[in-house]
Symmetry: C2
Subunit: 342 residues, 2 copies
């Protein structure tokens, strides 16, 4: 059965969150963590972001079973007199730490003009856009970066060194969905490779090499070998920057160190995360309105020539799913999720 | 005559700077500006960076002749109690403003953990790496972005909207050249297209479209049409982020506005620049040594598999040219530069 013919199950919006919470608590996550994680999964599923929605419960379950995770740790937030907030996740998933630190990040960005949240000692599996969109909902520009496991070869290389190293950015637009992107610096998202494997579909060319460093379109061989970065040596350079900014800069692991620290294979990566926030009010000297108009002229010029802004499919899905009050997920996924609670 | 057979002229290092200063002062730049600009051209030429070395004197000359530039303005530096320094270049080239503001940027980054320099109302033609390398020489990580003229089409588009929008990053390495990259988010650097035009060489495929939105390898047609971003929709998204961060965020122009503001065609772009500085000491909670080792393990793993770090050719040229005390430039370039003073 092809993906387009795949059987679907309807889930009311409340049930998306409730199902996630039930699975997570069954797996051993304390309720505060289950709540923060479910909120992330709900936001992704609401946008029909299948790779980072409820599908990620499998990784949450595996990480609890096989990983060195603490499912009940209380994050410790340390906000000094600098523009930096440090959030120690204490070996739990990142999301509760980020949620707890977010108000201080927003407050510091408004005070100093810019601020950074460094999340340490966390397992991380989630999309970055919900966090940077939270910043732009507060009128700030947000930029977030994380390493992952060392699944990606540098340009000119033959084996995994870098993570998929996503970077996400969000810019506030008054009365409109923000300008947001969130992409892996690998040519293909790891989650998409896993979905291709589940669906038995080949990968596009040029996104992966096998364990011998040779090009491959087989998802299994790619998962066993290494992925390539997008954009050749430029994408590779950007990925190295992400390693440095979300690793050594904030006293946390690089992707090469993540897998051993996380537990057995299949666990979520274990490392740090950096989230930067910029206040247009402070940066522009109070001239936000005129600069909002300027940004809108840029967006209008892009759209006017038939090009698309990123995230538009996601925003359309969100509007549709909110209006109808439910999402659709593959029936096989729903069945497998329920089986996690057997 | 192919590029490799091109006749070369030897210039002693002192003469690189002195020639640049003579040309600039002849063109009408006040000595403080001529000094700051010459220093930039010298640093690029020292690294055999032909596209951003003495070659750029033509653009400096054209900008003075045909542009709305002020060749003698004194920059105004405004440092409030936030982490932001604003440098108003007052319609001059950017370089003197950046030079004047750099000590305060370094000082604020050390105090707040991170800081930003927003340069406004400047003409800009220069490479970004000398400025971020200055930050990493001070032990900081540096990140810089600028728009340019609207020469680059967004992914899926047909005409120029975005600038070549370079992004540069530098990370300090103790006792070694820094990890530095500086690349245009266009598939090809504008300066390289100009050099191809001068050399009569075709462009690679996939970097440009003509004025009708059709692919082209002709440098002239590309200069008349639009360039494409690197890395498809990801590179395009990144380029839009650079427009926003170095434009509306800091109350300055987007690439669409640059050409009209600069003067007649051929002038340097006119817009703003953002330079961010991050202090590893503050971000890591004083654990710089252990994180330097971690970063070095990353670099060693990349080099160990036969891949190269960015900027290595530049660093090798610098070492060679410093050791021998001279650079080589095309004889035709030297002749044309001298003719600027006729």
């Amino acid at each position: 059965m092809s993906q387009t013919e795949e059987a679907k199950t309807v889930l009311p919006l409340d049930e998306v969150r409730a199902l996630a919470e039930r699975v997570l608590e069954h797996c051993g996550y304390a309720s505060a963590h289950a709540d923060a994680i479910s909120d992330m999964l709900y936001r992704c599923q609401l946008d029909d972001c299948q790779s980072h929605g409820l599908f990620r419960l499998f990784m949450c379950a595996t990480t609890m079973k096989d990983g060195k995770i603490d499912g009940a740790a209380t994050p410790v937030i340390d906000s000094s007199d600098t523009a930096i907030i440090r959030a120690d996740a204490r070996d739990a998933m990142s999301l509760l730490a980020v949620r707890d630190a977010m108000p201080e990040l927003i407050s510091k960005a408004r005070r100093f003009g810019m601020a950074a949240l460094a999340v340490n000692n966390c397992f991380h599996f989630s999309a970055l856009w919900p966090e940077v969109e939270e910043l732009s909902a507060a009128g700030l520009a947000g930029l977030s970066m994380v390493p992952s496991h060392s699944w990606v070869a540098p340009a000119g290389g033959t084996k995994g060194t870098l993570g998929t190293n996503p970077i996400a950015f969000s810019w506030p637009r008054r009365g409109k969905d923000p300008f947001t992107f969130d992409f892996a610096t690998s040519g293909f998202a790891r989650g998409e490779i896993e979905l291709h494997k589940r669906a038995g579909k080949p990968l596009p060319e040029g996104v992966a090499i096998d364990r011998n460093g040779q090009p491959t379109c087989d998802p299994e061989a790619a998962l066993d070998g290494a992925m390539l970065t997008f954009g050749g040596h430029k994408g590779s350079a950007l990925s190295i920057m992400i390693e440095l900014m979300a690793g050594p800069l904030i006293d946390d692991l690089i992707s090469l160190e993540s897998e051993a620290a996380a537990g057995r294979p299949g666990c979520a990566p274990y490392h740090g995360q950096i989230i930067l926030a910029f206040d247009p009010e402070k940066f522009s000297g109070g001239r936000v309105a005129v600069n909002d108009e300027r940004a809108e002229r840029l967006f209008a010029d892009i759209i006017g020539q038939g090009a698309r802004l990123p995230s538009q499919r996601r925003f359309a899905a969100r509007a549709r799913n909110l209006a109808r009050g439910y999402v659709e997920i593959p029936t096989a996924l729903h069945r497998d999720l329920l089986a996690l609670m057997d």
